[in-house]
């Protein structure tokens, strides 16, 4: 194990990549930027919150290395750690805009959202994805997954968006960890004790065969540094989240009558020829669709009764100059893991296809069509074949499409009458710059179900519920979500199922107000600027952003 990169801690990893005496850490362990949310839950914090930001040079090129410490709380992203990444990457973006080329390199060793700061993790990760999309116009954003932890959860969605992904054979990349799939879908779906199955499905070796990893390197500092230097020189871009037609073609050819084995999938992957896919607008049907809060409000807002679509779970339509998009359940869905309205493979790619088309259609228009997301997503799909094919890329495709639309000037507005959970919310909701939610007890906003979150964080459900009392980001209800400051409006007095004509008029008015309030804003900064965010919800985020700003060009 000579000169292993994997065996190093995050800070040593960053230093090992940089030319001697060029490294300078931004917001380091002596700066007292510690997560305020861990100690109230009796969890020992770390002085850098598990994120190392290191400026420096690699072979004479200016870089920023973002190195995630996989050994601290599984490399999970919380408020402070997330804000460090976002603030530093936004600095890199500013520099590149001014013509000072700085290459961002992200060392992913992460389980995704830090479940102990759940909703902060989701917000932060969506903000990271947003800045990555913006950066890619200027420089490649280079990803490295060295392993032991690998890359999971929301940060795998981020990984799918990066320009170029380098990994060692000690890494695994997936959206849902095997334990969570087993918890949510049962041991027959994915046996989390079967280590061979896990590595054969999620390991770098398999991932590199099907376009989910771009380069496999040996676990030595030198070979990893060589790969990065080469990528800085060649600026390759995998365009991983732009293969929507390919994946929709692949899904059409999938035989869902039997369990997909790895060899068959690899052959299928090689044989698919991408054909143009377009998801036509929803039309009125004569059969009622599977009931959901999302479907109800989509139909009322667009005036389409019994809306049907060529992809039964993805509805979109234009009304009053706005494009409405909803992901809805279909109890007869041929994908069994998506029957409750989860966001699966088809949903992610179809939404991306719709949003990309809107952006293309409005390319030369000065006023861009507003996009309104009707959000009622109970989660992402938990399934074996979803992971084998790469559901993180599906979710990454729609998240990237929404981010690009917003950055191109489309108002992207959330209307949340239902659940907004985890990867589903990242793919369909969290790239919006104004969120309107109904104040209804039935709404869940979270990163993971209680059963799974308890299992992963090794607590009982009772302990978990106790923690939600002290840390609003851990809670599951919309009233606690409001305390984070991210909402544009929490609408009182309208229940999730109360889509009366009068209420629909009210919601449409609020959507219009939200669009007007944008006033040209294409960022996600609104979330930091609400009175609640400033007073408490994003206090730590704002402190981190201020310090990154001060230390950046010292």
């Amino acid at each position: 194990m000579k000169n292993s990169f994997v065996e190093l801690h995050a800070r040593e990893r960053a230093l090992s990549l940089l030319d001697a005496k060029t490294a300078r850490e931004i917001v380091g362990p002596l700066d007292n930027m510690i997560s305020p949310h861990l100690e109230p839950q009796n969890i020992v914090p770390e002085s850098d919150d598990g994120i190392v930001l290191m400026r420096g040079m690699i072979n004479g090129n200016n870089v920023l290395v973002v190195s995630i410490e996989g050994k601290f709380q599984g490399g999970g992203i919380g408020e402070v750690s997330g804000a460090k990444i976002v603030a530093a990457l936004e600095k890199v973006l500013e520099e590149n805009k001014q013509g000072n080329t700085i290459y961002p390199i992200i060392v992913l060793d992460t389980g995704g959202v830090r479940l102990q700061e759940a909703n902060y993790g989701l917000l932060s990760i969506s903000e990271i994805q947003n800045v990555v999309i913006a950066l890619k116009k200027y420089v490649p954003v280079i990803g490295l997954v060295p392993g032991r932890v690998g890359s999971f959860g929301g940060m795998s969605i981020t990984a799918s968006i990066l320009s170029y992904l380098i990994a060692t054979n000690k890494a695994r990349i997936a959206l849902n960890g095997p334990e969570v799939i087993e918890q949510e879908a049962g041991v027959r779906e994915f046996d989390s004790s079967d280590k061979d199955l896990i590595w054969d499905t999620l390991g770098t070796k398999q991932r590199s065969k099907t376009g989910l990893v771009d380069e496999v390197v040996d676990d030595t500092v030198d070979s990893i540094k060589d790969a990065i230097v080469n990528e800085i020189k060649t600026k390759k871009d995998a365009h991983r989240t732009e293969n929507v037609d390919f994946y929709l073609s692949l899904l059409n050819k999938l035989d869902l009558s039997k369990k997909l084995d790895i060899d068959s999938y690899n052959k299928l992957y090689q044989s698919v020829v991408a054909t143009k896919h377009e998801v036509p607008a929803a039309t009125a049907g004569n059969k009622e669709g599977t009931k959901s809060r999302g479907r109800l409000w989509f139909e009322k807002l667009t005036g389409i009764e019994n809306a049907t679509s060529s992809i039964s779970t993805v509805l979109h339509a234009q009304k009053d100059g706005k494009e409405y998009i909803a992901i809805v359940p279909d109890s007869d869905n041929k994908f069994p893991r998506v029957r409750e309205g989860e966001v699966g493979l088809q949903e992610g790619f179809a939404v991306a296809s719709i949003v990309n088309k809107i952006v293309a259609d409005d390319k030369d228009k000065t006023v861009k069509r507003p996009i309104v997301l009707v959000v009622d997503v109970p989660s992402q799909a938990y399934g074996y074949q979803e992971e084998l094919i790469g559901i993180h890329v599906a979710l990454g495709s729609s998240a990237a499409a929404y981010a690009k639309a917003r950055q191109a000037g489309h108002p992207v507005i959330d209307f949340i009458p239902g659940d907004a959970v985890s990867g589903g919310f990242l793919a369909h909701g969290l790239q919006s710059n104004r969120m309107i939610a109904l104040d209804d007890d039935s709404i869940t906003i979270q990163a993971m179900s209680k059963a799974s979150a308890a299992r992963i964080t090794q607590r009982t459900i009772a302990e978990l519920e106790e923690a939600t009392k002290h840390v609003p980001a851990m809670a599951y209800d919309v009233d606690n979500y409001e305390k984070l400051g991210a909402l544009y409006k929490l609408v009182k007095g309208i229940g999730s199922w109360e889509a009366t004509d009068e209420n629909v008029v009210k919601i449409k008015q609020l959507i219009n107000e939200a669009i007007t309030s944008l006033d040209g804003d294409t960022t996600l900064h609104f979330r930091y600027q609400t009175p609640i965010a400033k007073a408490s919800g994003r206090k730590a985020t704002l402190a981190v952003r201020k310090l990154v700003d001060e230390e950046w060009s010292k």
């Binding site: 801690h9 995050a10 380091g28 362990p29 002596l30 100690e39 009796n42 969890i43 020992v44 914090p45 770390e46 002085s47 410490e69 050994k71 601290f72 709380q73």
Partner: protein, 98 residues
């Protein structure tokens, strides 16, 4: 999780702040900061009920190296041997002329 606090009457001033270690399973991070007040050690540990052991490990360390510092420790279940190792490593960093 338990928070512990110790004071020591030590007088060898240190010249700069240093940080070593990671809050990984069985490991800890240690921060030394210069101070002109009494030496203080503030510990956050994931393993409850080891106050006496911490007291002994620290006493032994300060007997040998009577530095005057403001010390912060975040511990995730490390053994006394590992604690001593990290404290000594932090001392090494102090001597490092980087």
């Amino acid at each position: 999780m338990e928070k512990l606090h110790f004071n020591f009457d030590t007088k060898d001033a240190i010249s700069k702040p240093v940080h070593v270690g990671v809050v990984a399973s069985g490991d800890l991070e240690v921060i030394f900061r210069p101070t002109d007040k009494e030496t203080e050690v503030n510990i956050v540990t994931g393993s409850d009920g080891f106050k006496e052991v911490w007291g002994n490990v620290l006493q032994r360390f300060f007997d040998r190296y009577p530095i005057q510092a403001d010390i912060e420790i975040n511990d995730f279940g490390s053994t006394p041997g590992v604690v001593n190792l990290r404290l000594t490593q932090a001392l090494e960093e102090l001597k490092d002329e980087k």
